[in-house]
Amino acid sequence: MIERRYYGEFGGAYIPEILVSTFDQLVKAFKEVKDDPDFWEEYVKIMSTYSCRPTPITFAENFTRHFGGARIYIKREDLNHTGAHKVNNVMGQGLLTKRMGKTRVIAETGAGQHGVATATMAAKYGFKCTIYMGEVDIARQSPNVFWMKRLGAEVIPVKDGARILKDAINAAFRDWVTNMDDTHYVLGTVCGPHPFPEIVSYFQSIIGKEARGQILEQEGKLPARVYACVGGGSNAVGIFSGFFNDPVELVGVEAGGKGLDTGHHASRLASKDGTIGVAQGYKTYFLQNSDGQMQETHSVAAGLDYVGVSPILASLREEGKVRFESATDQEVMDALSLALRKEGLVPALESAHAFAQAFKEAPDMGKDDVIMINQSGRGDKDIFTIADAYADPEWQKFIKEKAEEYCA
């Protein structure tokens, strides 16, 4: 094993022997890429011509007036092609896959955003593509499954374990240990064994680089706080990394689910329930029992419904560099309503967690303070979940009629 990397006491590479040579190959390829100044340029060019980079920052005038505190800015990752920040990582890893001469990509997906992004990249670069998705997530994110298949990907429902994101990751690893010769595993978040946390944070750092420059240009100063939702942690690490050397308070918002004291949540760092463990190839905080068995997690947002968390974020929390909070499902739905009505923004349920926490804090901040929320993705994909939460009668009528049409 040529390289391992820890962030504080977290991270590492707890991998089976069969994958050691594959990881060595990936470490080498990534090192070449990092040392090649043309590569970042090529990457930025693709992101500006194929996706919508740089994504703008939006001054949320109505939120600012409504809360009467800090001036609120939104980083618009929702305006990326495929509708979320996931594409930043995926296009980068696609270039890496080409350099390694591999012809097939696999990925796990929770909300389906990473799956759609990977299927899109595979279509563009001509790779074969297989996406693993938990059965529970398939049931709540059907539109994304539809698109993945239209884009030419094979979508394999994962029926093991809790049938959500962590189980999809296990299934992808099981595929990879068989097919590593021609296949690259496009891991979707800043988790997993080294070098994945480093690779994904490298590509997602584009968010923070842009955001820092944009806010300085518009406001002439840095934000007091930056908010991002945290599932695995890729959008958070991406935007936070732009401000690591600045006097900016970084706030990660986890899924509070039905409440931190109910046991039905996915807060590994903001709750007292997370403990250090080793699973899925890396060491971090997990929601696990005293035997080390992973526990079921809950969130209204499939993309935050994950049992572990980035080793980079676990370490930043220990160093006191990132504060962790949580937002409940209900707070998230309320924040989403407000975003729709006040600003005409449609944040994904994941991203709405960051909005919810910012809304709790903005009123108590000074009118000269600036805060930034990372809108990591757009919420169109969540239409079924959101319509259910609103118990929207007209939508239900439409679905019933549509179903009858199919039955006829």
């Binding site: 094993m1 391992r4 590492g12 590479a13 707890y14 991998i15 089976p16 022997e17 069969i18 994958l19 050691v20 040579s21 594959t22 093991d160 374990g161 962590k166 296990n170 690893f173 099981r174 240990v177 068989t178 097919n179 590593m180 403990t275 463990g277 080793v278 699973a279 899925q280 190839g281 696990q288 005293s290 035997d291 080390g292 068995q293 992973m294």
Partner: protein, 253 residues
């Protein structure tokens, strides 16, 4: 100790058999009965898997066995107490197989001293490369237990020698890419791989992943020292029943 036991056995038999079970699957009573019939059928050593919720190296059959055992409430304590019982009842060496988090959460040192107290002989931890396993390797050495290291067909000759330098008892040679329970091609390639393994270490070689019938074991005679039967016994238990295990094992050699 384990190595000399194996070498003595190899004077009498040209290939040894190691079997695997998932503790608590389908129940702890059944586990005990399976171990009993395996020992009576002449198995030379056994690996006892402590179930884990994320068994990433295992294929669907063992994965489901892990999940079922956990759903039925299997705990690490239950597993260790059954392990203690069988090491005192049956006259063959027993090893623990599990994933690193089970040891880590228990406390690596504590887990390993309990293993020693239970008279277990060693452990197989497939997600713990030696680079990450310093604490584990030191504690195993302190308690004179055998860390069983794994080779795979993608392991270079140099790395095989590196891995072997930490291994005790024997080396677990993974037969092919993939997870447990898929078919293995018992071919010239496998033979070449086993020759590579043999050149990298003086330790006895065990071959596992996809070994399921007499023909496979006949193929391995003279090429490996131990054949490992994992998934296939679980299939037999599921398809025929616990009572069929003894005959299955007896029919392998």
């Amino acid at each position: 100790m384990l190595e000399s036991y194996l070498r003595n056995r190899l004077k009498k038999k040209d290939i040894l058999l190691m079997t695997h079970i998932v503790l608590g699957y389908p129940s702890f009573d059944a586990s005990l009965r399976i171990i009993e019939s395996m020992a009576e059928a002449g198995v030379d050593l056994m690996e006892l898997q402590i179930p884990f919720s994320e068994p990433t190296a295992d294929g669907p059959v063992i994965l489901r066995a892990n999940q079922t055992a956990l759903r039925c409430g299997a705990t690490v304590e239950d597993c260790l107490s059954l392990a203690e019982k069988v090491t005192h009842t049956f006259d063959i060496p027993f090893l623990i197989m599990s994933y690193y988090n089970i040891l880590f959460k228990y406390g690596v040192d504590d887990f390993i001293s309990v293993m020693a107290n239970c008279n277990l002989q060693g452990a197989i931890i497939p997600d713990l490369p030696p680079e990450e396993g310093r604490e584990y390797l030191d504690a195993m050495e302190e308690h004179t237990l055998c860390p069983i290291l794994l080779f795979s067909p993608t392991t270079s000759q140099e790395r095989m020698r590196y891995l072997a330098s930490f291994g005790k008892g024997f080396i677990y040679c993974v037969a092919r890419k993939g997870v447990t329970g898929q078919d293995t091609d018992f071919s010239k390639d496998l033979e070449t791989y086993l020759v590579r393994c043999r050149n990298a270490t003086p330790l006895p070689l065990a071959l596992g992943f996809g070994v399921k019938e007499k023909a496979d074991i006949d193929f391995l005679r003279g090429k490996a020292d131990i054949a490992i039967i994992g998934t296939q016994t679980i299939r037999i238990i599921e398809q025929v029943g616990v009572a069929a295990v003894g005959d299955f094992i007896r029919g392998l050699r």
